[in-house]
Structure formats: structure tokens, C-alpha cells
């Protein structure tokens, strides 16, 4: 990881630096016009956030059953990243909703469920920080349950009567004029966010490793 870290970082930086220009080139969406340009980062951040949440759930389960310390570190790092990406997803969604729905908070199904997931992972971090000894297992259980809600968030718009765009919005994009360009930009932004997720995850994991080193040294010093 350390060898490819810097190249990966440079690629991510390049993608992010280019993305505003690329988004600027996108044609206006026919009904929502300029405000639709929030979509590119909004969608990408939720993709990265969902990935973080699912990785966190899998890593938590792996830690519970196999006792792998590395899996535990991955779970902490991804939970934190899930909270950060989720926070931006909620902020950008609110700003978009202000224009598209005319209200900051519409209380629609997917938005509420996304907030629930955000709360679960904030709870994860709280348990982790203030839970005292044994909090690793507690938070791991929370991570598994948190990841289990992710499919509900994804499907909630299809089940409930709601104003949030349906999951089919992505496939319909191809039919609109300029849709191919928009589709490409969506993919581009998602790739950039996924790389960002990887890079920050690596940095965050390094922090956990250092902390573990510190704890070990403290224990040795006491002996």
C-alpha cells in the first residue's frame, strides 16, 4: 500500500482538480437546469459512502468471527469515512432540495433513511470513543446492523410514495440529449470519489496502526 500510495494520491488529486471543468462542460438537464450539476458530486459521494458502509459491515463481521485486528482497523476507518461522506451527501441533497422541491427538508423516505444510517455510524464512533473496554465488539455489532440498513435506503424510494428520484433515474439518463456526456461525468466523479475513499482510508488506517504501536509500547514500558 505504501508504494502505490503517492501515485494514487496524485491521480486522485488530478481527477478532483479536473472534475469542476468537466462538470462545467456538461449540458443542462432539461427540467432542473443548473441545479442538477450538484448531482455529479451528490451521486458520487453516496456511492463512496455506501461502499464505506458496506465495507465497514463486512469488516466488522469478519472481526467478530475471526478476531482479525486489521479488519477492526478497516471498520473504524470506513465508519468515519461513511460519516464524512454521508454528511456531505446530506448537505448537498438539502441544497439541491431547496431548489428542486422548494424546501430544505422534505422528510422523504430516502432522505430520512439516509439520516438514520448517518446516525447509526455516528453512534458507532461514539461507542468506540466512550464505550470503555470491550467497545470494539459493541461497535462491530453496530457496524453489522448499520450495513444491514444500506439496502433499505437504496430500495426505500421504490417502495414508498416519495418525491426522491427513483433508482431508475440512472438508466433513463442515456435517453436524454447529451445524456452520454452526463453519464460519462457521473462515472468520472464516482471513480474520483472511490479513489479518494481508498486514499483517505489508507491514511486513516495508518493512524490506527500508529495508535496500536503506541499502546503496545506503553504496555511494554509498564512491564
Amino acid at each position: 500500500m505504501r508504494k502505490i500510495f503517492l501515485p494514487l494520491l496524485v491521480i486522485t488529486a488530478a481527477l478532483f482538480a479536473y472534475s469542476p471543468y468537466y462538470i462545467n462542460q456538461a449540458p443542462y438537464e432539461s427540467t432542473m437546469l443548473l441545479v442538477q450539476k450538484i448531482f455529479y458530486y451528490h451521486f458520487a459521494t453516496w456511492m463512496a459512502g455506501a461502499t464505506a458502509v458496506i465495507v465497514c459491515g463486512v469488516a466488522s463481521g469478519y472481526y467478530l468471527f475471526k478476531g482479525s485486528v486489521v479488519a477492526d482497523r478497516v471498520a473504524v476507518a470506513t465508519a468515519e469515512l461513511g460519516v464524512i461522506f454521508g454528511a456531505f451527501g446530506l448537505i448537498s441533497g438539502t441544497l439541491w432540495g431547496r431548489k428542486a422541491w422548494g424546501t430544505w427538508w422534505a422528510g422523504d423516505a430516502r432522505v430520512s433513511m439516509a439520516l438514520v444510517a448517518e446516525l447509526i455510524f455516528i453512534g458507532y464512533l461514539l461507542v468506540r470513543k466512550y464505550g470503555g473496554p470491550g467497545s470494539e465488539k459493541l461497535s462491530a455489532a453496530m457496524g453489522v446492523f448499520g450495513a444491514a440498513t444500506a439496502p433499505f435506503i437504496y430500495k426505500s424510494v421504490d417502495w414508498w410514495r416519495t418525491i426522491h428520484p427513483k433508482t431508475s433515474v440512472m438508466s433513463s439518463l442515456n435517453d436524454t440529449p447529451g445524456g452520454v456526456i452526463m453519464w460519462n461525468i457521473v462515472l468520472f466523479c464516482t471513480l474520483a470519489f472511490m479513489l479518494l475513499l481508498t486514499v483517505v482510508l489508507a491514511a486513516r488506517m495508518r493512524l490506527e496502526e500508529l495508535r496500536a504501536d503506541l499502546d503496545r509500547l506503553y504496555l511494554e514500558a509498564e512491564d
Partner: protein
Amino acid sequence: MLLRTVALTLTSFVLTTGIALAQAPAGQDEFVPLSSLPPGQELPAAPLVLASYASFLLLMMFYLWTIWRRINKVEQDLDALKRRQGAASR
């Protein structure tokens, strides 16, 4: 030492993105003549788009800064501990 470089690079890349983002909305305003906006567009969208991208920038910068600060702190503690141990063993 590597970590400090990494943290610096991360911050600088976020800053470049920021400059790029700051330029983007300006181009957008020229792109749309105001007269071509439909009558339903009472609420200007540009500030919202700008706010959205700026919030991402700020959030990411803040988060990277916290990681950088936490890594630094742990490294300091490690150094201090190692020095103390070195002094004790001598």
C-alpha cells in the same frame, strides 16, 4: 517523515481543487444568458451549486486536517516514549 509529506500533499491537492472550483461557477454564469432562463426560475441556482461544492471542499479539508493532526500527535507521543525508554535503558 513520509506521513508529513503525505499530509502536506493531501492538503495541497484539496487547495488546488478549491481554486479550480472557485473558477468554475464564474464560467457558468457566462454560459447562461439571464434572459434564456425560464420564468419558473425565481430561485437562483448558482449559489446553491456553489455552496454544495464549497461545503465538500471545506468538509474534506477539515477531515484531512483532523487526520493529519491526530497522526502528528500519536507520532509525538511515540517519539517521547521511545526517548524515555532509551534514557531508561542506558
